[in-house]
Amino acid sequence: MLSLSLVWQSSVAQTDATIPSREIVRPNVVLLLADDLGFSDIAPYGSEISTPHLTALAENGVSFTNYHTAANCAPARAMLLTGVDSHLAGVPNIPEMIPPVQQHADHYQGVLGQDVVTVATLLQTAGYHTYMAGKWHLGQTPGLLPSSRGFERTVALGESGADNWEQKPYLPIYDKANWYADGKEYQLPEDFYSSRFLIDKTIEFIDSNSASEQPFFAYVPFQAVHMPVQAPQEFIDNHMGVYDQGWHQLRQARLKKAIELDVVADTTQAVSMPTTEDWDSLSDERKRYEAKRMAVYAAMIEAMDHHIGRLVDHLKRIGKYENTLFIFTSDNGSEPTGAVNPTTLLSNFALSRQSYSSDYERLGLKGSFNSISPSFASAAASPLAYYKFFVGEGGLRVPLIIAGNGVAAKGLKTDVFSHVTDITPTILQLTHTQEPSSYFGGRKIEPISGRDISQTLSNHQTQVRGEEDQDAVGYELAGNAALFLGDYKIVLHVAAPGDGQWRLFNIKIDPGETKDLSSVEPKRLQRMLNLYHQYEIDNQVLPITANFDLKRQVIINGVHARFGPQILNFIILMFVLIPFYVVYRTRKNLEARD
């Protein structure tokens, strides 16, 4: 296997990114990123969904059960790829959701700033081939595309999501789905299905340098399971009937399984989210429909797992598997913004405007728009509270599996607190690539704030962070805020279903966030509030506007982007025409009087 690995020497041209002087064998790295995958959506974390290839990875490595990311996608991707807090990386929120008043700040553009360096750039500089196939969503201008941010070969989706069967936008705020290959606009093939296509491209990129002795870094940010939730029929068939008992039963079943698997403490309880409908009150027709929505969701996850298996098999076939490090995770928790009932007349009319259907028979197939409602999203995050966009554990805590080369432990589950900003420094450590200092390529950069967690990949659990002030990890998204310190977490949700109150939880014994400790431990609460205030200052967090609403802001920004010039032209036209109309009516009135 050594012959297939790079024996890399410091004579390779380097800048400030690298630099061991001795000969070392550096692993290939495959970074697999699911989209909107809930905490218990894969089998190693308690899911009923069959994910044998992810299970195999978990058995061949370490599963992190206390890993936290951002509450929505682009901030998570920015932190994942840079190790820098989302605010300092220029992506405190997705651009579609940033109100104009915040967009005046340079670091609130929702695109990856030029004062952060991606792990791809660092690895490329250190002699790696770097590939990316999947959703980017960190900027679409030429200097912001992945081909300009350290990736040698790319096929990338620019928006927050897109159809999985064809090149088509999934929301009316987009006029098209922009795909790019190596920095140029790209037309998807006719036989496109997202997970299959992205793995095919990854394999193609890897094989294009099969003769090279350089290792590779492959970043595969899947579209699965972002809406529209779509999957091939053969995978859907596997899950029909599985969800007929509804979301309450599923949430409880996953809680039980997660405890059995030691994914969460046996003291764990789950709250009932106020957004969860009463399953028993639904009509039989609604139950049938909701069960299929979730079946398609499960099928999309199973399809992703199937294609991950194809990549693993390919690496085995070409002899690169043994020297490859695999990292699998999700950008944020499960997506709750799907329509509660997508079969209403209004929903159907809106979908038909985009040439989508919510027809039961075709659900998940080409031309169909599917999602899960907040009720099944809560089950997907079981046993955690909340989901995507919120800073409850269901929005932030997701699976993380690290396996393969460099991972001594096999089948280990660790509840060591870890964070999305830890991934980049960990990859750098495992690839023997030096972290950049405060300058890179002659320009000042934001230093990495995440920590190397590679020491947790042995059989000995090691805390990466203690309980000192400098160990605190803060987070903010559109006013919703959290701070982690030791086993504790403070949480603020500014709007419903939150209540604008800071709460304190021990997330080690109560990951479901059922028992607010703020009145029991007021000193700890105050200390953590002070640390959060410092986090806001250090990371230049801007206050959110009054009455901010995520969904409404997306619509407003989308209308501005797509229809702004037309609206302005209409208003100007009215200003020109109305005086003529007033004069005309006045004359008519005068004539009538005469």
């Binding site: 109100p99 104009p100 008043v101 009054a546 009455n547 409404r552 407003i556 501005h560 302005l568 208003i571």
Partner: protein
């Protein structure tokens, strides 16, 4: 019917006048309701002067229309509310202001209400 309509249009008129008084007696809190801080110096003078005049004018015009029965008094009020809504949209489109839907919607409703009242009163006269 016209009596009911007069009562309905008087409600926003009273709100306008009260807001105008608010700008004179308690400008800080009144400005805060519109997402503004109370400015200093010349800015405060312009802020209180123009906004108090705006709301008094809108309110008094409607009150004049309903008490005198002269429909044309509705038009300045309709122009003020209608143009405010329009310029809010332009501010959003061109100057990165917040799209103040919570304010625009009532302004549009008031505009159409005043125009409708003007039409109805014309029939009476």
């Amino acid at each position: 019917m016209n009596r009911l309509l007069r009562i309905i249009v008087v409600i926003p008129a009273i709100i306008f006048v009260m807001t105008g008084i608010g700008y004179i007696l308690d400008p800080a809190n009144t400005a805060a309701q519109f997402g503004m801080p109370l400015l200093e110096g010349l800015g405060r003078s312009s802020q209180i002067g123009t906004l108090a005049a705006f709301f008094f004018t809108a309110g008094f015009c409607v009150l004049l229309a309903t008490t005198t029965g002269k429909r044309f008094w509705y038009y300045p009020a309709a122009m003020l509310t209608g143009l405010t809504a329009t310029f809010r949209v332009i501010a959003w489109l061109v100057h990165d202001a917040t799209l103040a839907t919570d304010q625009i919607l009532p302004e549009v409703i008031f505009t159409f209400l005043f125009l409708y009242a003007a039409t109805r009163l014309k029939e009476k006269d």
